[in-house]
Each structure stands twice: as C-alpha cells, then as structure tokens.
C-alpha cells in the first residue's frame, strides 16, 4: 500500500461514500422516476413520456412564478427584519444580548406547521386576538403578505445569526480605519463594514430562499385559501391525490432543484466577486460601542420582534394546549391541563413518539455531523478531483422538498433485489433526516475549515499521522465547536420533521410530528399543541444547555 499512489485520500473517499448513500441515492431515484414513469414497478419503460404532461400543465408557469415571488419576498423581508437587529447586536452593547439571542433562536425551533396553526388561531375571525382586542387580521393572514409574514418569522433567525456573527468578526476595525481617512460613521458602515459582511449575508439569504421555496406547511395552510399555489403544494397534490402521479411530482421537484441551484450559483458569483479573507478570521475587536440615546429605541425594536416572532406564537400554542375545548375560548373556566396530562400519562403513545424522535434526532445529528465534517473537508481542504460534485451533493438537499426525499428513498430502498434494506425500519427515517439536514453541518464545517490553516494538517501528517488520524486528532477537534452547534440544530429540526416522516415512517413507528399531525387530523388540536409545546421546550432547552455547559451561548444558528 505504501508504494501505491494514493490518488484519493481515505477522508475524501469516506465523504464520497457517505454523500452517495445519503444524498445521491434518493436524488438519482427521483431523476430516474422523472424519466421512467413506471419505475415504482421496477420498469424502465417509456422514458421521458411524463415530461410533456407535467411541463405542459398551464398552471406550471404561474406556480413557478409564485414560488420565486414567495422566495424573493421572504428573503427581502427576512433581510429587512434581521439586518438592522444583527448590526445593532454585533457593533453595539445591546442590554440583554444573550437573552435576545435565545429569543430569536426559538422561532426557528417552532415547527412551521405548528407556527402557522398558532397564527391562524390567533388572527382568524374570533381568534385569540379578537377575543382579547376585539378585532381580527384574518384577511391579512390568508394572503401573500400573510404567508410571507409567517414564513419570515420562521426564517429570519438564520439571517440574524449569520450577519451578526460576520459583522462581529469584521468588527469596527476596518470601519475605524475608514473614519481615520475621513469617512463619516454612516459612510464607513456602507463602504466598508457592509461590503465586508456580504459573504455571511449572501450565504444566509440563499439558505432562506431555499427554505422558503421548499417549505410546505405554510403555503398549504394559508396559500390555498388565497388561491396562491406554489410548486411544493402542487408536488404534494401529485403524491397525495389519487391517482398518484410520482413522475409528475419528480419532474416538478427537479424544477424546484433547478431554481434553488440558480440561487446557489448567484450566491457563488457574488462571493467570488467579493471574497475577503478578513471575514474568516477570529473576532479581534470585542469592544463594542455604547448605544447612548439609541438604547431605548433599539431595545424597543428587539422587544417588538421577539414579541411577534417568539412570545405570540408560543402563547397561542400554550393557550390552545391549555384550553379544555377550542370553542371555550380564552376563559379561566376553560383552563385545563388534561392535554398535558394525557401526554405525560402516555395514554396516547406520546412518550414513545417522543423517545423515538429524540433518538432519531440524536442519530441524525451524529451522522450528519460526521458526514458534514468529512464532506466539508473534501470540498475545502482536499484537492481531490470531483470535489465540485461533492460540493453540489452537499447543497442539493436544500432544494429537495421533504416529501420528494421520502418518495426517492422508498423508490431507491424498496427494490426487491436488495439483499438487505433499511426500508421499513427506523433507519429509513434516519436516512431521510440525514439527507434533508446535511446542508446545515456542511455549512458550519465549511466555514470552520476556512479558518484553519493548511499547515495544521500538514504538521500532523509530517509528524506521522495518517490522513484519517490527522482528521480525527487535529481537524475534527478544531471544528468541533462549530460542528457541535450544527449538530444541535440538526437534532432540534430532525426531532420534529413532518413532511417526510408522514410518508416514510415505518409501520408501527410514530414520531413526534406524525403524532401531532394525527391529533390535528382527528380534530384533537389541543393535544397536538400540548405535544408541540413539550417538543419546543425540549428541542430549545437541550441544545442551549449543552452549549452553555460548553461556555457558548446563543450561537446555535
């Protein structure tokens, strides 16, 4: 072995194998399904025959347009909401900064399908808002602005944390230099600090765009009534309305992937035009400015966003969970702990669903963490040929709707000739979560690897460590803090993933999300909301506890 030319390092090979299993296999299954309509029955007949029907759909242009419009609006509103907050947080001493960070983390932890139901119950006629204040905002909620509003509340934390971290890293160092040369504070910010923060901003906005065009729950719950159809709802219709149209769903998914990929290329283009090593260094200037007379207005802004994005949805969820009946409304006589009692008493299988989802969340976090680190290494540090392909594989899941991942996994893993298959075991859920959430650890690990000098690995190799040993002993520990944050995020999101779970859950296995969804489906909204509240508590508290034990706070996103 020592004498043979090691063309590919084992680290890169592991990444390639892992990515193939987790991402390439289901994606290929979808591509094949799009091309061969009867693939589900194991036949490769009539290639491309489904394209004319799916692409000839007159509504397609409208839906694709709506998808782009929605993605664009959510990106813009997310930026408008979070950039001022992030900059204030990064450059100034905002009182209670750590608390605001936690407050802005929670919206990301509230499952979108729960948040939207909470908003419906709050804003619709006779909803909680009406019961408390005598007016409702139902017509606003069930419209494009309403959809954008609700989705932005879920996505803005991504931008807030990315931009505040980048701006913090850039610090006021460079702006100070600009001021020395005669720039006003405002000009120094616009000409120096903001351009230097572009990479963080662009990356997070891309992620928001991908999240927005891939999100199912909100457009489905609010958009249908507003006559606002997007690609994801159309895909869902094709896989849930008899006769099932898997080829059509696969083709629409590929359109979605292409849209998302264009956004990715755009981001690359922006970053390549303006790439600054400065933004990858350690935060050097930790001294922050005082807000002075602006303290109160800035605090008011933070409080307003925290109230709307975090407190209100949580209160709506809690109010519903604590109501004996929905029709009883917000009245003390209607207060009841019976839904929580039913969950803790486990009369409805809730605890089993909790433990299943929590173990799946841990499993997904471990696997995506390891695979994410390996893949990011292959892309950032290795000179391996074909690493561009690996790069694409790591971001592909961003644009794959959960339901399509699920169908792809069934198509791929339920082939009769497979000697063993994870299908119909909990492993298939694990694969689905890993596929959907892999981009998170990759994103974190990539950023971390960019900050690690090449010589740290070289030094280990020369000291006698093999490629894998150097990865394990040197690189992995160095990116561990970032990776851990990403893994906690994966844990939180995997624990409540709904769309794929509903289709792919093995017989006899119930997850948190399928449990909640079943309660909603059968009209037990209160029970579902109680479970949702417990889940939000667990998925927010556990990662925060882990992080604070490690001496880091609020840096989960």
């Amino acid at each position: 072995m020592a004498k043979s030319r090691a063309a590919i390092s084992p680290t890169v090979a592991l990444a390639a194998v892992g990515l193939s299993i987790v991402v390439a296999v289901p994606f290929l299954a979808i591509v094949l399904q799009a091309i061969f309509p009867t693939l589900g029955r194991g036949s490769f007949a009539a290639p491309f025959s489904a394209f004319a029907g799916a692409l000839g759909d007159a509504a397609l242009i409208g839906m694709a347009g709506n998808t782009l419009l929605l993605g664009f609006c959510v990106v813009v509103l997310s930026a408008v909401v979070s950039v001022p907050l992030a900059i204030a947080r990064a450059l100034f001493r905002v009182p209670g900064a750590a608390i605001w960070d936690v407050m802005f983390l929670i919206p990301f932890m509230i499952p979108p399908y729960i948040a939207v139901l909470g908003w419906i119950m709050t804003l619709q006629p006779r909803g909680y808002l009406f019961q408390l204040a005598g007016f409702d905002l139902g017509s606003f909620l069930f419209s494009l602005p309403g959809i954008v509003f609700v989705m932005t509340l879920n996505t803005f934390p991504v931008v807030y944390f990315a931009v505040s971290r980048t701006v913090e890293t850039v610090g006021s160092r460079y702006a100070d230099v600009a001021r020395l040369f005669g720039a006003t504070p405002a000009r120094a910010f616009w000409r120096v600090t903001l351009p230097l923060s572009t990479p963080g901003l662009a990356a997070s906005l891309l992620l928001v765009f991908a999240m927005a065009i891939e999100e199912y729950g909100t457009p489905a719950a609010l958009g249908r009534r507003a006559g606002f159809d997007v690609l994801v709802t159309a895909i869902d219709l094709r896989v849930s309305d008899w006769p099932i149209d898997l080829p059509g769903a696969a083709i629409l998914s590929l359109i979605l992937v292409i849209l998302s990929f264009c956004a990715f290329l755009l981001q690359r283009w922006v970053l390549n035009r303006r790439s600054y090593e400065a933004t990858t260094g350690k935060p050097q200037d930790t001294s922050k400015r005082e807000l002075g007379v602006w303290t109160f207005p800035v605090l008011a802004l933070f409080a307003l966003v925290a109230f709307v994005a975090t407190i209100l949805p949580l209160l709506a969820i809690l109010a519903t969970a604590l109501s004996r009946t929905i029709s009883g409304g917000l009245a003390w006589s209607n207060l009841s702990f019976r839904h929580f009692a039913a969950i803790l008493g486990d009369t409805t299988g809730a605890l089993k669903a909790l433990s299943t989802s929590l173990s799946l969340g841990v499993g997904a976090a471990l696997i995506t963490g390891l695979l994410g680190a390996l893949s990011a290494y292959a892309v950032v540090k290795s000179r391996a040929r074909g690493r561009g392909v690996l790069d694409v594989l790591t971001i592909l899941p961003n644009s794959l709707p959960g339901i399509v991942v699920a169908v792809g996994l069934i198509l791929a893993w339920n082939q009769p000739w497979l000697p063993i298959t994870p299908y119909n075991t909990s492993l298939i859920l694990l694969l689905a979560y890993c596929c959907i959430l892999l981009p998170q650890p990759v994103r974190y690990a990539t950023a971390a690897f960019h900050q690690i000098g090449d010589n740290l690995e070289a030094a280990a190799r020369v000291s006698g460590a093999s490629s894998l040993t150097a990865f394990r002993r040197i690189l992995l520990p160095l990116i561990a803090p970032s990776l851990l944050a990403a893994m906690l995020l994966v844990f939180a999101v995997a624990t409540r993933e709904l769309v794929a779970s509903v289709v792919i859950a093995p017989v006899g296995v119930s997850t948190i999300s399928t449990y909640i969804w079943r309660q909603f489906e059968q009209g037990s909204v209160g029970l579902g909301m109680a479970m949702a509240f417990v889940t939000i508590l667990i998925t927010t508290a556990l990662p925060l506890i882990v992080l604070s034990l490690m001496g880091r706070r609020g840096s989960l996103l």
Binding site: A2, K3, S4, R5, A6, N455, L456, V462, S463, R473
Partner: protein, 370 residues
C-alpha cells in the same frame, strides 16, 4: 508499477531529486529540479516569493505529489512513477512558517504528538517531550496552551515537535520569517547549533540571504521554478552564476554595459574598462569593493548621494548615477561622511568586477544564463 533504482549518487544522498516537476495545468510551478544533499548537511532553498521553494519542500515532505520526476530519501524512492509514500511514512520533522501548533493541545501535547503516532509508551514519551522542550528552553511551559506563548516561544515549541521523534531529516519552511529581526538573529544561531549537535540533515527554505548563508552548507538559489545556482555559500558570494543571483544575494549593483570598440559604455559614458566577454552587451556586477570615490570633475562616472547609513565601521552610501536611463544606483563604502545631494565621482576597478554576457538590454528580464 516500475520502480526506479536510484543511481549511486542518489543512494548516497540523504535527499535526492531527479527531474522533479510540478505543474497545475499550464502553470509550471517547478521544472526539472535535480538535487542531492549529503547526510548531515544543511541545504538552504533561497529565492523570492513564488519561486517554488516552498513547493519543493512540500514535495519532499510528501504534502504534494510531483507531476513528473523522482524523490529519494535515504536511497528509498518516496515519489516517482507509481510511487507516492505519504508524509507520515517518510520519517521527517518539519517546522512551518506559521508554526502550525495545534491550538486545542497543550505545549506538551503538541510535542508528544509525533511520539504518540510512533506508538511510543507514555513514560518514555513524557521523558522525551520534556527533553525536547528543555532543549529549546521551554520545559516550564509544557502545560500551557500555545496561544499563551509569544511568537518566538511558539516557534521553539514547533522546533521541539520537529525534533522530538529524532528524525534524521528536518524540513524548515521559512521558520523565522514571522519573528522580529533581533529574535531572528538569535534563533538562527540557536538553530545552527541544534542542527549541528543533532547531526541533522536539513532543508531550510528562506527568502533571507543572510539566514541562508549563515546556516547552510549548500545554498540553492531558486527562480521561476528552477534552480538558478546550487553552491556553497562562499562560492555563491564569490562567483554568482548570473546577474539575477547576484542581485538576489544583494552583492551589489548590476549594470548593463554596451561594447564600443575596445571600451565599454554605460549609457553615453565611456568607462575605460578592459576585459569582459566578447559580446555586444554585458552585465557587470559592481560590488562596493569595486568602486573608488574620485573627484567629480573628470571622473568616468558621476552621481548624487541619495542615502547614508552608518554601518559597523564605515558609512554605506547610496549613489544615484547621473545620466542613466533607467536610473541606476550603486552602493559604496566610505570612511568620510557625505551629505545628501553631494555630487561625487566614481571609478570602477576592472579587476574587482564580475562580468556576465548578455543579449537583452536589461538583466532582470533575462532568464537564467548558466
């Protein structure tokens, strides 16, 4: 898989390379490097940034794979057709420009790492780590984090890490360039002693000619991916192979002269020189020792004093020659203090000049001529 048998020379050498080349597409980083370094010798790779010296070091370390050519370490082929021994199996020590200390390990943990990789037992490991740290004077820092140390201390830790496994060959990649001047001079002396005491074979990459000339038994001056000259330090200074080597070693000014009949002209000035190559153009290396100050009136060359620096026992004077295009400056040593702006005359001493034949009008645009 063909394995090249090393020639007799290659077998003798601690490190040898044969026709070593590295290119990325159309970019040739290294072309046809042939080197041989005897055991116990120190080779300095000297050159401006981008000349390929660090690349060559990384090829020897195994951190890069050559496009063509062979590398032998102790007579064993480690790179070449069908062979690529990974860095961890080459038994080397290495010191990096940026120290490359692992921030998550303590000083002792950093130094112990090569021993751990070699499977050395804990007691033996601890003993050798402390010995290596004592050697660089940092025994009491063993429990600290590298980030708590100064730059010079960090580089000492890196040196301890490179020697702790008792490799016979240690590679130095501009180890001192991140340190300030004073510390650099102390460390050069320390490193020299260390290499001698341990009997190491070393390759030392640097862009500082004084470091190279102090430490090395052999110096390879590199330029544009090739070795411009490989020689012992004293030979290098006495007999630079090309104007470029001379300029890089800062031996003096290189002037481009034009032959007019039996004489040589600098611009329009006849210099009254004899000798030189039988070509129409020539470069001549003018060291401070080759110039004598003369009266400005009637001198073959005149110039204005533009900088004065008191150095050791004499003044180092920089003179801008009059009527030259492009502007040429020369250095002279003088016992008398001059004033900036003084016009002085200069005479060239033919026997102290070193000639190079030339075709192109300017030496820096010329490629290697030897």
């Amino acid at each position: 898989m063909r394995q090249d048998t090393p020639s007799a020379g290659e077998a003798q050498h601690a490190i040898a390379t044969r026709a070593l080349s590295l290119s990325y597409g159309q970019t040739h980083v290294l072309r046809g490097i042939d080197l041989g370094l005897n055991r116990g010798q120190t080779l300095a790779l000297l050159g401006p940034s981008g000349c390929g010296k660090t690349t060559l070091l990384r090829l020897v370390a195994g951190l890069l794979a050559p496009t063509r050519g062979d590398i032998f370490i102790d007579g064993r082929q480690v790179a070449g057709q069908g062979v690529l021994v990974p860095p961890e199996r080459r038994g080397l020590g290495m010191v990096f420009q940026d120290y490359a200390l692992w921030p998550h390990l303590s000083v002792a943990g950093n130094v112990a790492f090569p021993l751990e990789m070699a499977g050395v037992g804990r007691a033996e490991r601890d003993r050798r780590v402390m010995a290596a740290l004592s050697r660089v004077g940092l025994a009491e820092m063993s429990a600290r984090r590298p980030s708590a140390l100064s730059g010079g201390q960090q580089q000492r830790v890196a040196i301890a890490r490179a020697i702790v496994g008792e490799p016979r060959i240690v590679l130095f990649d501009e180890p001192l360039s991140n340190l300030d001047r004073e510390l650099r001079e102390t460390m050069v002396a320390e490193l020299g002693a260390l290499i001698r005491d341990l009997g190491l074979t070393a390759i030392y990459v640097t862009h500082d000619q004084s470091e190279a000339l102090t430490l090395a038994d052999r110096v390879a001056v590199m330029d544009a991916g090739e070795i411009a000259q490989l020689a012992a330090p004293e030979d290098l200074v006495e007999h630079p192979a090309s104007p470029k080597v001379a300029e890089f070693l800062r031996l003096g000014a290189v002037l481009t002269l034009r032959r007019v009949a039996e004489d040589w002209h600098l611009g329009q000035h006849p210099l009254g020189l004899t000798g030189g190559p039988a070509s129409a153009m020539a470069h001549v290396l003018v060291t401070p020792r080759a110039l004598v100050v003369a009266d400005a009136a009637g001198a073959t060359l005149t110039g204005d004093v533009i900088a004065i620096q008191y150095r050791d026992t004499a003044y180092a004077i920089t003179v801008r020659l009059a009527d030259t295009a492009p502007v040429q400056t020369v250095q002279i040593a003088s016992n008398t203090r001059m004033r900036i702006g003084d016009r002085i005359g200069l005479t060239l001493l033919s026997d102290r000049l070193r000639w190079f034949p030339a075709q192109s009008p300017h030496p820096l645009k010329e490629t290697r001529s030897c």
